[in-house]
Symmetry: C2
Subunit: 376 residues, 2 copies
């Protein structure tokens, strides 16, 4: 064991063949992380504890009093900011819908082995903090800086690499006012909960969750694109396991998705929904990281025919989900309800799985099996 290294407990990425059940390692992730129970789509702002959570390593023990955010690298004036210093900047609040890039992974066949989400890795919160651009302005970003690299306090091993969680964003995008990128210290008006990055996290409206670095402790301006693990190895759309020949495409903005709060009531174990005959108001939320949702359609015959749902206007929260609803008249029998969103740019949701090695960005339409039975 003299030669033992952290790589010995860190296997390469793996694809589970069709039919292989969820294993103990995936279950260990599923038991500690969690999604949004879909009935909680009823809340415009997700209540505490219902917003999805994905923690790569451990939730760090954090002491807000001693916490410092450093800003360094290609800047004129390196900074070390405590919480009071950050609160002294002008504060803004953005309502943001956040979704895990791996949402939908466990529905893929074959299944990439990682956190096994079905469709529920989403949530919406009001995030309060300092616009990133204000902090970078104070530090004075040098003209040769091309990216900002964000380091969290969470530390672990992933695919053989011991690391702090670290991601970058390009400039000038990250600092632009219109991007809405925040250094957040409050969620829904309260200090961040530990699992959401206490005391500081990045919020990057419209991007999948991996960009919103939690437990933020360091910002480094760099003069060449960042090539760390979470940027260049993980979180890439890739179709070949040969990374040298397939660098893949970066995972960035959230693909459009609509979800339905399943109607009626569930069976505990199968989760199949039961409704009684008659008109049923179907409700849910829809979002896209590329802009407003333009249309939501619902199908009661598993995608053969579609009808347009009523859709709430996107303002005044351009980065938050939009409510939709429609009436479905239930008749006795088995049904599969389906819903899909199309955004203003014409992007929509596929009816067949968009497979890739990491299981990212799977916005395949949600399918909700429902049994309609006569009322007792």
């Amino acid at each position: 064991m003299d030669q033992a290294s952290a790589r010995d407990v860190s296997a390469p990425a793996r694809i589970a063949p069709a039919g292989e059940g969820i294993g103990q390692e995936e279950l260990a992730l599923a038991a500690r992380n969690h999604g949004l129970p879909l009935e909680a789509l009823r809340y415009e702002v997700t209540p505490p504890g219902l917003h999805y959570v994905l923690v790569h390593y451990d939730i760090p023990a954090a002491d807000a009093d001693g916490w410092r955010l450093t800003v360094g690298g290609r800047v004129d004036t390196p900074l070390s900011l405590d919480l009071d210093a950050l609160r002294a900047f002008p504060a803004v609040t953005h309502r943001v819908t956040m979704e895990c890039a791996g949402n939908g992974r466990a529905l893929l066949s074959p299944r990439p082995v990682s956190q096994p989400w079905l469709v529920e890795a989403v949530g919406t919160a009001d995030w309060t903090g300092v616009p990133l651009g204000l902090v970078l302005d104070r530090a004075g970003v040098r003209p040769d800086a091309v990216e900002a690299v964000f380091t969290g306090a969470d530390h672990g091993v992933e695919r053989g690499v011991e690391q702090d969680y670290r991601r970058s964003l390009p400039l000038p995008y990250a600092a632009a006012d219109g991007s809405g990128v925040l250094i957040a210290y409050a969620m829904n008006g309260l200090p961040l909960p530990p699992q959401h990055g206490y005391p500081l996290r990045l919020v990057v409206p419209g991007w999948y969750g991996m960009a919103h670095v939690k437990w933020l402790r360091e910002i480094t301006l760099v003069d060449a694109p960042f090539t760390g693990f979470q940027q260049s190895a993980a979180y890439r759309f890739r179709w070949s396991a040969d990374e040298s020949n397939d660098p893949g495409e970066p995972v960035t903005r959230i693909a459009p998705r609509a979800l339905m709060a399943p109607p009626g009531f569930p069976d505990f174990m199968s989760r199949t929904r039961v409704v009684h005959p008659g008109p049923v108001r179907l409700r849910g939320r829809a979002w896209s990281g590329h802009g407003a949702v333009a249309q939501v359609e619902v199908s009661a015959d598993d995608g053969l025919t579609w009808a347009r749902a009523e859709l709430a206007a996107p303002d005044p929260h351009p980065w938050a989900w939009q409510a939709w609803s429609c009436v479905w008249t239930a008749v006795p029998g088995r049904h599969t309800l389906t819903v899909r969103a199309t955004d203003a740019g014409g992007r929509t949701q596929p009816l067949e799985q968009p497979w890739n090695l990491g299981g990212f960005g799977n916005n395949l339409v949600q399918r909700v099996p429902v049994l309609c039975v006569a009322a007792p």
Copy 2:
């Protein structure tokens, strides 16, 4: 389909044979419910969103303004109490460790198919509300009442039975001051979160979670033991699938358990812990629903030899977990850390699984694989 009923989507209980992976139905439960990330054992009171959650059906939409708790059945004065009426009673706060009766189920072999917990279905909160006995006194319990039946607003189908979630407690136990049974309207000083029973839940210190009825809307005093589904069919220790010949034993108080916050840092996927050589302070919590924990022992060789840990005194919160710690000197190589609690009544944790059909009360000792490697 004219004959269709809710039973058509509600299969009988099933045992998965050894080697069968977690299925999509178990995963659907694991994705919406969640446990305590074990590093959160560092908190004496579990922060919002980290306390375990198990919801049988859906989280009901609840309007606190219109909410009424009725008290009826074998009472002199039926009551209908709104939140203000409950807040007008003297309030008490109890710090209570709560654990799901199914905690440990997914470690059993063969595995009962249900919510697939590993060891993390636990949490501790400060619950504030009205002692149940005060409310029952106001209603005037008649001498022939033997149990109080508690009905929640959550509705669904389970094993073919359409039902509101409903459980009972025996009298005079439920009403006795020393039992600590509460009608709670606050958790850690704030209104209950939706997933923890907003606006009202029962809290039954020392009992597994199934007794703490959430979204409480009705209390009915009855003159014969309650035989509803959650009392007589589910939540029984049973070893034969023939329920008529094996009524089983009721699941009631929490068996002793100690958990360790895994040391070092994890590999993302395998969750194996990595530590560097030298002294490592191991920390965790221990509890028993039968009384104070008297002893916590730790083993670094998978249970061959044990050493006593330091244990915090149980007061002043007799229903909450107790902190423990000890120092382990890590040397390079692979290790399996184990911990076990023994309560004041001499109950302890088994080294072999205590199997039963429902997968209840599995307090098998936690095993934490650790790799010790030289620091880089």
